[in-house]
Symmetry: C2
Subunit: 451 residues, 2 copies
């Protein structure tokens, strides 16, 4: 019998009180308002590592949600990703108290120079001993653009072209600028680094000019594990070229399978292997020792769910909550000029549909064995490799999963065994610390293709 | 009798093996090659806090020294500030194991957007519970400019004008965007933040356009303690407006006193008080239990001192080491076209003068009481407020100072007593956590002067 497929288990987090489960900061004993404190992250990291999680995945935005109702008021009142802090800076403290936990951080290629970001990630990869991943995003909020000197968003095609060049600069710095044996620390001869093994990158492209050399010496993984969240055609092409772990979705199982296949095809066209990509999905899991306990927890999350928070997060341009539920959507469109992709016949049904759309395709509430059954179906039938566990309650969601679900998954042989600590890439793929040879970034090794 | 003036004690560090004591990474048991490891920083922070240090001050550059001998070879071989990592990312791990130690980090206003930096510093101020300071620099390396898309350095006047506007953006975000009581976390009413107490900054200036609002809620200090290193006239004017702690020098005691007075005058002209500024100097201290022990340590540092490293660090445009020592400097100038500010009659004397110039004006080698006497002279006669202790050996320099000098200074009443942990600003000035009212940045409080 072949060994059962292993699950990648990430907690989905953000350095803010309200990430995607809007309104739930109000749950009793939810401790999200502690996100400004180092202790919050230290305790969480210890809980996750002790519980056997593979990683923590930190989302980020660099602007506020100020489209709904024409302002930031709703986002502020509901705590929709504001206040919020930098995601990279909580990693070193979590790294100090763990040995195996991986750290996926989100950073946008659109607004900040690649040279400084390359050094930040190399620093994190050194400090974590190779446990860092990067979730590549290009940013989409109008307010984010306005925080970085622009009038509004850069069109998506242009953002993706910039991202592709941005990645090229990073690969040159991470993979091409220093040889593995450049740093010798030879006290006798007085040679810290062998100068013949370090080089300028001399990148001159459409958007960026970067001379180098990279300032950091090679870190355990060099290039961090590359994550990308996508489902769009442009995103799929980019994932085929760059991504190692794709955070993807789809309204149906077939959607998901079609997306995954398209990205694997794109990868193969780029000279990569289909299994160079792993797929993770966002998962909503509510677990109880009994069905009743799970049902109670589910009820509590539904009662406090903030519809306004959801509409603000989605930047819905019309205040649907200002109309009686039975108002025909045609009237709203006539009045405001907006059509909504989610429109149903009435305002009430449209709101319900929007709220429903924010639920996870992978959702299960039940006892540990019911949850584990659902996870196995996703692994073996849908073909996913892992999950980003949505937090309803902090640390309750993570603790429940660690205490109730993980032992059941371990019994079923679905978890990676904890041997010696490794890099994140080795943990996820089991094929070494570095980018595989067929990856685009690997072409710069030894200084090839520079200048 | 009035209470004796207290000394601010910082360790001067950098996330790199060779900061300013070039060649000394070769000293036996110097552990600087561990700078990539989290443990290096955790152990160092514990040593400093236990020893009673007020802070650790981290220098930074965002380029390589590649002028001397027309390339980066010397800097690499001698380990002159390369390899090097990001300074901000080691702070959270040090903060996790300390309660009182302050963290001064260096960041340049020239190459990266203010919005993202504002959030990073607010994040650090939250995570450290208000123990962070920022060393404002504008960068000077040609290679740094080339790493950020430019052909070469931006002229100094322009860099300073940019820095002044950069600071304005930061003050608006840090001081003006959120009121202290904006975050309420009212579970009952479902209000996380009171929207009436948060505002856009709508900054439109010559170089920057930033809408805001700030993403981080107010941190303990809001604006980190502002450090600046300067002696130049333009720098002094800037320090008079912005700096709270000035890292300054001068070849003579009179130089130092004149600089300090000029900056205090500039501060008063800006509506600040003369004692809103504190002055720290770089200090070289070699201490032994006996005079002989100190002399032995001094000899070891002199023997391994790297002249090539010093010339590379200073970006000396002529390879003086390629000439016999007795060569007249006039011949070198005739051959190369360069004149050096440090020129002496011969090449050998010029090199000696350059090396000598890199020694600290505040330098003492001796027993603890000799060192303490010298420190007291600087405090009481020269009028300094503190020191940035140069590292010859890591952790040896810090450990010697902690074990031998600090007890002597404590006996003499020259150290701040460790009471309850406070913010860095309160520790240094004893007048609260926030910028004083007369500071330029305070004008944006409550949203005044925005837009």
């Amino acid at each position: 019998m072949p060994e059962p497929k292993k699950l990648i288990v990430n907690l989905f987090e953000m350095n803010t009180p309200g990430h995607i489960s809007h309104g739930l900061w109000r749950l009793p004993e939810n401790n999200r308002e502690r996100f400004n404190d180092l202790d919050y992250w230290v305790e969480l990291a210890q809980l996750l590592e002790h519980g056997g999680f593979d990683g923590i995945f930190l989302a980020d935005v660099v602007g506020a949600y100020d489209v709904f109702r024409g302002g930031i008021e709703t986002a502020l009142r509901e705590g929709v990703q504001i206040p919020g802090n930098d995601p990279l800076l909580v990693v070193p403290a979590m790294a100090a108290v763990t040995k195996r936990l991986g750290f996926g951080v989100t950073f946008s290629t659109t607004y900040e120079p690649p040279f400084a970001f390359a050094r930040r990630m190399s620093t994190l990869d050194h400090l974590t001993k190779g446990r860092v991943g990067w979730n590549i995003v290009t940013s989409y909020l109008p307010n984010a653009a306005q925080n970085f000197g622009l009038d509004g968003e850069i069109p998506k095609d242009r953002r993706y072209a910039m991202a592709d060049e941005y990645l090229d600069v990073l690969y040159k710095l991470w993979e091409g600028s220093w040889d593995d044996d450049a740093v010798v620390v030879d006290r006798e001869r007085g040679v810290y680094t062998d100068p013949s093994k370090v080089r300028y990158i001399d990148h001159v492209g459409e958007t960026f000019r970067v001379k180098g050399p990279h300032l950091s010496q090679p870190s355990p993984q060099r290039t961090p594990v590359l994550y990308q969240a996508t489902g769009s055609p442009a995103g799929m092409a980019m994932a085929g070229k760059h991504a190692e772990v794709v955070f993807t979705g789809g309204r149906t199982l077939e959607d998901f399978q079609r997306n995954a296949r398209a990205m694997q095809d794109a990868a193969v066209q780029q000279g990569r292997a289909a299994d160079d990509l792993k797929f993770i999905v966002q998962a909503g899991v509510i677990v109880g020792r009994t069905e009743d306990e799970a049902a109670d927890k589910l009820r509590a999350t539904r009662e406090l769910r903030s519809v306004e928070g959801i509409l603000a997060h989605l930047s819905v341009p019309v205040d649907l909550l200002a109309y009686p539920r039975e108002t025909p959507m045609a009237d709203v469109t006539a009045e405001t000029g907006f059509t909504l992709p989610f429109a149903a016949p009435t305002v009430g049904e449209t709101v319900d549909r929007i709220v429903e759309s924010r639920e996870d395709r992978f959702f299960v509430a039940g006892t540990p064995s019911v949850v584990a059954d659902e996870i196995e179906t996703w692994l073996d039938v849908a073909g996913i490799d892992g999950i980003n566990l949505r937090q309803y309650h902090s640390f309750g969601t993570a603790r429940d999963f660690a205490e109730l679900v993980m032992p059941e998954l371990r019994r079923r042989g679905r978890l990676r065994e904890d041997g010696e600590p490794t890099t994140l890439r080795e943990r996820l793929f089991g094929r070494g610390d570095r980018l595989p040879d067929g990856h685009w970034g690997a072409r710069y090794r030894g200084g090839a293709h520079l200048g």
